[in-house]
Structures are given as C-alpha cells and as structure tokens.
C-alpha cells in the first residue's frame, strides 16, 4: 500500500534530478534518451517494488538502476558505432565517461545549467515554461496541459518542437561565461517569473497544482540565489517578490478554488514566515545600484503585505506603480495604479484616470470601473460589470463577476 504514495512522490522529486544529470552527461541532443532512461527506471521500480516490496533505500535504488541503464546505453551505442562506423573509433578512451554522478552537488549544478540552456532565446517563452515544468520540475504532461488550459496533444507537440530546436541550435549545458552571465540570468529570471505567474494567476481550478507550480518556480529561483555565480540582485529581488506573493496563497482562494480578492482576504491567513523571508531577500537585493523591474515589483508586493490600510501604504504603492510603468508598461499595472489612486484620492478621481487608459476592451478595466462606480452610480457599475462578463475569457473570472453583479443588485 505504501508504494502508492511513495512512487508519485519520488517521481516528483527524483525524475527531474536523474534527467538533469543525464542530460548534462550526454548533452542536450540526447534529451529524449535521458527522458527514456528516467521513465524506464521508474517503470522498473513500479514493477520490482510491486512484486518484491520496497528496497531499503528507494532513492539509491533508483539512482543505481538509472546509472546502469545509462552505462548500457553507452555500451550499446559504442557497439553500434563499432559496427556501423568502425573508422570513427580509434581508441577505447574516446568513449564517453560512463560514470554517472548523482551526488547532491552535481544534481544542483546540472539543474542550474539546464535552466540556462532552456532559457535560450531560440525558444519562445511558452515553450520554455513547458520544458521547465516537464524536465526541471517533473510535472506530468496532463498536469501541464491542465495548467495551460489545453490538451495533452498540444503540450506533447510543444515539447517536441522545443527539444528539436534546442538540438538543432546545439545548445550546450553549461553556465554562460562571466561577461554574459548577467544576460543569461535575466533570461532565466524571465522564464521563472512566467512560471510563477502561470501558477499564481492561472485560471486552472486545481489549487494544489497551481501552488506546486509556484513552489517549483521558487525552488529554481533559490538555486540561482544560492549560487555564487548567479546570485544577481535581480534574482534576489525576484525571489523576494515570489515570497511576498506566495505569503497570501492560502488567503486568496476559497475551499472551491475560487479567487478571494485582496481586500476581502482573511489577513490572519497570510504567511508571516514567507513575508519575513521576502523581507530578508529584498534587503539583500538592495546592495548595489541595480534597480530591476523585480525590485520595483517586490517593493510593491512588500507594501501589500502591510495589513494596516493607511494612506502611507497606498501613497508608496502608487509611486512604485508610477515607476514600474515608466520602466515597463502592462495593462494590469495601469489598472492597479488606478486602484491605488482610488485608495488615496477617492473613487471619483480614479474614474477620471481610468477613463484615459484606453483599455475598454479589457474585462479587468470594466471590473475596476464596476468597483469604482459602486456607491455613487449603481446603474453604471452594473453596466460595466455586464460588459466585463461578456469580455471575460474564463469561467473562473465569470463566476467572480457574476457574484459582484448579484451583490450590487441586492
């Protein structure tokens, strides 16, 4: 009975480690081979443990099987080469090193290097996220499909194309050289930030899965932060941002997985430990002159962890949104800025700002105006919410908007 819980757990923690080490060992062009070996290892484990019971040390057992399979593979490969291309092999020593190193250190290094390889600009951000989820986090194809609100087939194709591109581009598994490392780190950060947001803002109803995505993004970001070569101020700021956001994880969804908005959350559920951790890394990230978008966003997230709804809090948030918009525009930031204005100067002032945003095709714009008109013009508020209902893209959002309309009409 015990195996039933153990195998999924081990798959989640060990599959990705075996892949990372194998890929580092064999090179990216052998990614499929690495996946085959890892998958086969787990298949053998399921059968063997099912028949004979659990080994004393299941992890070590998995590693041994994976190593043996990898060694067999190399042998088979060399036999193939000897038969087909005998001229190629001139010396026994030209065979690749067969000792697969599954030490903690090598696992960490391999995963770190893989992140850099996957974040290569030859891949679209969407493909990067899917690949990270699959081979660095060990999520199942069906889980990834759920999160992206699509089917398994699409994810299979996306992963296949991504692997092919990496193979053709001959992407190497290694850390970039020192002059380029910051640029490389930035690419990885973009990818990890997207992964985190995929979990945090996904319309998928599976809250456990979404939380797992966020935790995985945090685990990978921490790998960067804890490595002396990759711990840039931007990486630390991003990690702080993730901690602050994640601190509200338990407060922002109800038992059915529906979203609870910020001002309706039970602040007692905010996680103090994560807030403190975010604080620590935000301070650490402020050591130099670098001010990345993650610094600004982490500072905004920090102010959101302040429970007291005073004007100082919203004044600071507004200024940070101003700053963030000057660095990088996004409609959501523009709308959030307007919400901050309503907190400081009242809803009327915010309505004036909102109307200049030119976002009338955005459902969140109408949700915001619905909120801003509530109390002064119920009719207009309802009209905006009904427009929002038509423009909303997911059922999850529509449920939330319908609730708002019902509350207004009572």
């Amino acid at each position: 009975m015990q195996q039933k819980e153990l195998l999924p757990h081990l798959f989640r923690t060990e599959y990705r480690k075996i892949i990372a080490v194998l890929v580092r060992h064999f090179g990216f062009e052998q990614l499929t081979l690495a996946e085959d070996i890892a998958s086969d290892t787990f298949l053998i484990a399921a059968e063997t443990w099912g028949l004979k019971g659990l080994p004393e040390n299941p992890v070590a057992w998995l590693y041994t099987v994976a190593k043996n399979k990898a060694r067999d593979q190399v042998k088979r490969n060399s036999v193939f080469k000897q038969k087909v291309r005998p001229a190629m092999i001139t010396d026994e020593r030209s065979l690749p090193e067969t000792d697969i190193d599954l030490s903690d250190e090598n696992i960490k290094d391999s995963q770190l290097q893989m992140m850099f390889a996957i974040a290569d600009p030859v891949l679209s951000l969407e493909s990067q996220t899917a690949l990270i989820l699959r081979i660095l986090c060990g999520f199942g194809i069906d889980e990834i499909a759920d999160a992206f609100l699509t089917n398994k087939e699409t994810i299979h194709k996306r992963l296949g194309r991504a692997k092919e591109k990496l193979r053709l581009a001959k992407i190497k598994i290694r850390l970039p050289a020192t002059p380029e490392i910051n640029q490389g780190v930035d690419a990885v950060l973009t990818s990890l930030y997207l992964l985190f947001n995929e979990g945090y803002y996904s319309s998928c109803r599976n809250t456990v899965l979404r939380k797992d995505f966020c935790l995985e993004a945090m685990r990978l970001t921490l790998l960067l932060v804890e490595n002396g070569q990759t711990n840039t101020a931007g990486a630390e700021a991003l990690f702080a941002l993730m901690c602050f956001h994640a601190s509200r994880f338990d407060a922002r969804t109800d038992e059915n997985g529906e979203i609870i908005r910020y001002d309706e959350q039970n602040v007692a559920l905010w996680n103090e430990e994560l807030i403190a951790k975010g604080h620590y890394y935000l301070n650490k990230s402020s050591r130099g002159k670098e001010l990345s978008r993650y610094h600004i966003e982490a500072a905004i997230a920090y102010w959101h962890t302040i429970k007291n709804d005073n004007s100082e809090k919203w004044e600071n948030i507004l200024q940070l949104y101003n700053q963030l918009l000057c660095v990088i525009y996004s409609p959501v930031t523009a709308l959030n800025r307007t919400y901050a204005i309503s907190k400081i100067n009242g809803k009327q002032a915010a309505i004036q700002e909102a109307e200049q945003l030119g976002l009338t095709n955005n459902h969140l714009y109408h949700v915001l105006l619905g909120y801003l008109y509530t109390g002064s013009d119920q009719e207009k508020a309802v009209r905006h919410l009904k427009t929002a209902l038509q423009l909303a893209k997911t059922e999850r959002e529509r449920i939330l908007i319908r609730k708002d309309i019902i509350n207004l009409e009572i």
Binding site: L318, Q319, Y321, N322, Q323, Y329, T333, Q356, L357
Partner: protein, 116 residues
C-alpha cells in the same frame, strides 16, 4: 501614432524662494504622478532626462560661452518623449505637467519619423 518631444523650460536664475522639504516632496510626487499617468496610457515612449544647470554653448570661431542661459532667458531643464495621436493630444497631455505650476513651460515638438 506619432512621437512627440516635450521640452521643459523654466528660468533657473529667478530666485524662487527655496522650497521646503515638504514642497520638494510634493513636487517630486507631482512629477511621478504625471509621468505615471502618461505611462499608464502606454504613451510614454522614453522617460527622458533631467539636465543639470551648468552647460556651455559652442559657437563658430571657437567661441565658448558659459551656460546656455546667458542668452536664453529660459534654459532647458529636461525632456521626455511621448506617443500621441495628434499634436492636439500631445499638447493636452502637456497641460498636466508640473513645471507649469512653477512658472515654466512645455514645448511640444513632433519627432520626424525615420520612415515617413
């Protein structure tokens, strides 16, 4: 959509009474809010720069004069670039510029696109 250069001018030499720290704070906030409101409409093309007061003007014949404002009554204090549908819209946006509150003005110029 065109791009427009907004040039901020005011007289640096007029002895405006030294603002209090609170006034300075408010001034800064006003600038941030104005810039933020342009950026929130996705119309900030370049957040530009603020120029320091000292400068030199170089003229033909190796004539170098100190400070651009020796002959110009109003010196350029800074600039940003915005996006707008028309000159009218760009001018409308400029009406919110905080420099107008301290006796300055905004010059709005259309940037000639490379590919007309």
């Amino acid at each position: 959509m065109n791009e427009f250069l907004l040039i901020f001018r005011r007289e640096y030499k007029t002895a405006v009474a030294q603002p209090s720290p609170e006034e300075l704070q408010n001034m800064m906030k006003a600038w941030q809010n104005w810039m933020g409101s342009i950026a929130a409409r996705n119309k900030l093309a370049n957040s530009g720069n603020r120029l320091s007061e000292e400068g030199k003007v170089v003229k033909p014949g190796s004539v170098v004069t100190n400070g651009p404002y020796v002959e110009m009554k109003e010196a350029i204090g800074g600039y940003i670039i915005i996006r707008a549908d028309s000159m009218e819209e760009a001018a409308e946006i400029s009406k919110g510029c905080p420099i107008l509150g301290v006796g300055g003005n905004v010059e709005v110029r259309t940037i000639v696109p490379m590919e007309p």
